[in-house]
Symmetry: C2
DNA sequence: GTCTATAAGGCGATAGAC
DNA sequence: GTCTATCGCCTTATAGAC
């Protein structure tokens, strides 16, 4: 079945979210999916190969999710950023991509590639929003769009880290709200 | 020798920084420190026991480092926050404590305890700075001190995550600088 | 306190039958 | 395509001599 391959990818996506890369074993993927060892090594070269496929798929999902939120939101730049930052997020579950970044094995360039694609794409998306907002005169030109974009992504990722450390599930929402307040002060009309 | 115990702790602190908890093995600690297996299990119950001692020690170091920076800095609240946020930080190396937070084993409450102590202590320190600044009229009262403190810690931690993902070592410095610009706008005199 | 030897178990992966 | 059996390696320890 072609479904086996997809099932393995979907299961790996869940485990990468729950446990990251290093702590997830092929056996765990097999146990949860019900797929056998032979099938797994037929469809993929090994753990790393499956993880890359899962991370690429996750990247596509998350970028599509972002684009949909932005497309659905009519309003100015702040309304768009707000809509995205206010999506429900649970610090204790971690970010579906950011969760993986700190794993030691992720110094490997092949494992790094999908992470880099995700974060640099999101950076471009936010840069475009802030840049256009400045062009139309709706955002003060004190900060570079690129810098604001990088800060936005960092606030989000940092909220997950701090929230997990202090075991407060709503931390990401809290820090996003504070950051949005500061962004609102940069709005010019 | 009593030095053996300290040597094991110092070596574990380095490895926790480089590889986190799950990916660090007792054998790695022994190889790097030159201590033998027998000595290790004489001084500590096991890996977890050593890791907790190392994390508690690291927490003490980092809080002492913070307090020293603040004490050395004469100037207003913004000068103090700037002095701390502008310490040299390398995203590719990771935060000495934040590096560990995402490890799956760190759901264990004993491993979590030192992390929680570090982040909640830092949160209190920043809250005190922002709170006093508001009392003295040097900081606008739009934001709660607690919220600003949580945001400050998140910016720092998020910078490490994003920086590692896009492989830009100076990301933490960049986002701190952007954040400081936004804080400067909240200064009232 | 420190040493070496050993152990049970999981890891990532392969072999070869069906 | 999928199965079961097996592999060599590493992990976290423990045992018992010195």
């Amino acid at each position: 079945m072609a479904a086996t391959r997809e099932l393995l990818i979907d299961t790996m996506k869940l485990l990468l979210w729950e446990r990251g890369y290093d702590a997830t074993s092929p056996n765990q993927v097999l146990e949860r999916s019900g797929v056998g060892k032979g099938s797994f090594y037929h469809h993929f070269k090994g753990k790393k190969d499956l993880a890359i496929a899962a991370m690429e798929s996750r990247t596509d999902d998350l970028i599509a999710e972002f684009d949909q939120i932005i497309a659905q939101t009519d309003g100015d730049w702040l309304a768009q950023v707000s809509a995205y930052l206010r999506l429900p997020r649970h610090a204790l579950k971690g970010c579906r991509m950011g969760r993986i970044v700190q794993d030691p094995s992720v110094e490997d360039e092949q494992l790094l590639a999908p992470l880099e694609r995700y974060f640099s794409t999101m950076h471009k998306r936010f840069t475009a929003i802030y840049s256009e907002a400045q062009s139309s005169g709706a955002l003060v030109k004190i900060h570079k769009p690129e810098a604001l974009a990088k800060l936005t992504l960092s606030v989000l990722q940092g909220g997950f880290v701090v929230g997990r450390a202090v075991q407060q599930d709503d931390t990401v929402g809290d820090v996003c709200e504070s950051f949005l307040d500061m962004l609102a002060a940069l709005k010019t009309n």
